[in-house]
Amino acid sequence: MTDEPSTPRRGRRVLAAAAGLGVLGLPLASPSPSPSPTPPRSAGSDRGTQLYQQSCASCHGQQGEGSQRGPVLTGVGPADVDFQLSTGRMPLRTEHQLQEHQEPVFSEADIRALVQHVASFPPGGGPPIPTVGGGHTPSGRELYLTYCSACHSAAGVGATLNNGRFAPSLFRATPTQIGEAVRVGPGLMPAFPPAVLTDAQVNDIAAYVDVLQNDRGDLDRGGWSLGRLGPFPEGAVAWVLGLGALLLLARSLGSRAR
């Protein structure tokens, strides 16, 4: 088991965390998705400071005060920092990167160190990294359709927004990242504080997103899903494959055999 980027989605985070800790030669903490305070504080914060200086400070400022090139980081909260780093949206590499879920640049341990470092900027606060799991799928399905499907599509494939932006597909999001996105509202996405969606409801939503992601055998039981993009590709298939085949048949039947 190595730190291989193509490890299956489910549990990739846990594996990455284990591998990251192993590389650093630290005692293996319990592989819980939430940041655990067990690793030595000083080591983490040193590493965090170092990484922050290398990769973040040039845009976000020495103490997260922000600059013309990057927004303020004081008070955004650990959930936001963890979301941006663990989905590979930060640090920036390309222009379109903010919209897409990518392989994270940093290891799990480094991300934790960075989260701790940014959280230490005064005044602190902001949404913590949620612990997500164990939700109820049917209730999650209803909540997902009320709160998420307009942008992320009922099928979880995302949707087009204004000005060349789009709401991303949810197929790579981990439960924790879903919880973080719900609480933080990254980018154009609205945030849903506990007054709007309770922790239990977020668990339910994450459980249903997991169905959309991983329960494909049952959700796409009709066959080739056509990217779950709805009637447009269906029409294309009907014309190209369906009518195309019948056209060939008609040609062979109608052509006069001499």
Partner: protein, 281 residues
């Protein structure tokens, strides 16, 4: 002819494939009916028939080379005259113009009378269409609740969030869905026509173009987008349409916070929600 022999063998083979497909279908069905296997087996069964019949029709049966005469459909004028005479001759009832006229009037009046029950397609217990279109269940004092039925407090609406609301007790009405957001007063370019409670405003969720829910909220730009035809509404400008085919702003919902902090409507939308119609005020 060896070509013909080969064709016969191929056709027989194709029909044999059909039998295999049919058996496969029956077996798949009995074993739990996987949709893909059912489709393939049935498709193969029919494709075997199609191939075999096509080969049969093309290789073993004569194609083309026949001609059928196509007699003129038009009858000679004299025959047409006879038909006309038979129809309109002296014995014909059509000769009595007055009676025919009254008959047509009578039949027509039955026809018109029988149009009346079409009105029953819209129950008489319901108000007339224009009244229904102009009014919704929102009224002064009605509480705003989430689609799950939970009442909403002013303090629930944080900056950057959106809450879809319906009037209490009218969860499934088509014209009531609305949404609450908290605006950034510094970026507000036009004061909401329905007023606001603090920085919180409520608008109809239904696109003024074709009535789809404009449920795509871009929090940073304060825009609502429609998933159907890509209209966009700018909440900082009283929900004015800024892109796409929508021509009218989203109707505002006047709201207030009651003593317990729950949000209530102060009345109906500022204009009828959803698509426009002829008697739109």
């Amino acid at each position: 002819m060896s070509g013909e022999k080969g064709a016969v063998r191929r056709i027989r083979l194709a029909f044999g494939v059909t039998v295999l497909g049919a058996v496969g279908f029956a077996v798949t069905y009995s074993l739990g009916a996987n949709t893909q296997l059912l489709g393939i087996s049935l498709g193969v069964a029919f494709a075997g028939l199609a191939y075999g019949l096509a080969a049969w029709g093309r290789r073993l049966l004569p194609t083309g080379g026949y001609v059928e005469q196509k007699p003129e459909l038009v009858a000679p004028p004299r025959r047409r005259d006879l038909l006309a005479e038979a129809m309109e001759g002296p014995e014909s009832p059509l000769g009595r113009r007055g009676l025919v006229g009254m008959l047509l009037l009578g039949a027509g009046s039955i026809g018109v009378a029988l149009l009346f029950p079409l009105r029953s397609l819209l129950s008489f217990r319901k108000p007339d269409p224009v009244t229904m279109l102009r009014h919704t269940a929102w009224d002064a004092g009605v509480r705003l609740v989430t689609p799950e039925g939970t009442p909403v407090r002013l303090t629930d609406i944080a900056r950057g969030t959106i809450q879809i609301v319906v009037p209490e007790g009218h969860r499934r009405d088509g014209d009531v869905p609305a949404f609450l957001v908290r605006l950034d007063p510094e970026r507000l370019r036009k004061e909401p026509g329905a007023g606001r409670v603090g920085d919180v405003v409520a608008y109809s969720l239904l696109c003024t173009h074709a009535g789809c829910p404009v449920a795509l909220y871009e929090q940073t730009t304060a825009r609502m987008l429609c998933p159907c035809h890509q209209s966009a509404f700018d909440l900082n400008r009283d929900a004015a349409p800024i892109a796409g085919p929508a021509a009218r702003p989203l109707p505002g919902l006047p709201i207030e916070a009651d003593a317990d902090g729950f949000l209530r409507a102060r009345g109906d939308f500022t204009s009828p929600p959803g698509a426009g119609f002829w008697s739109y005020p």
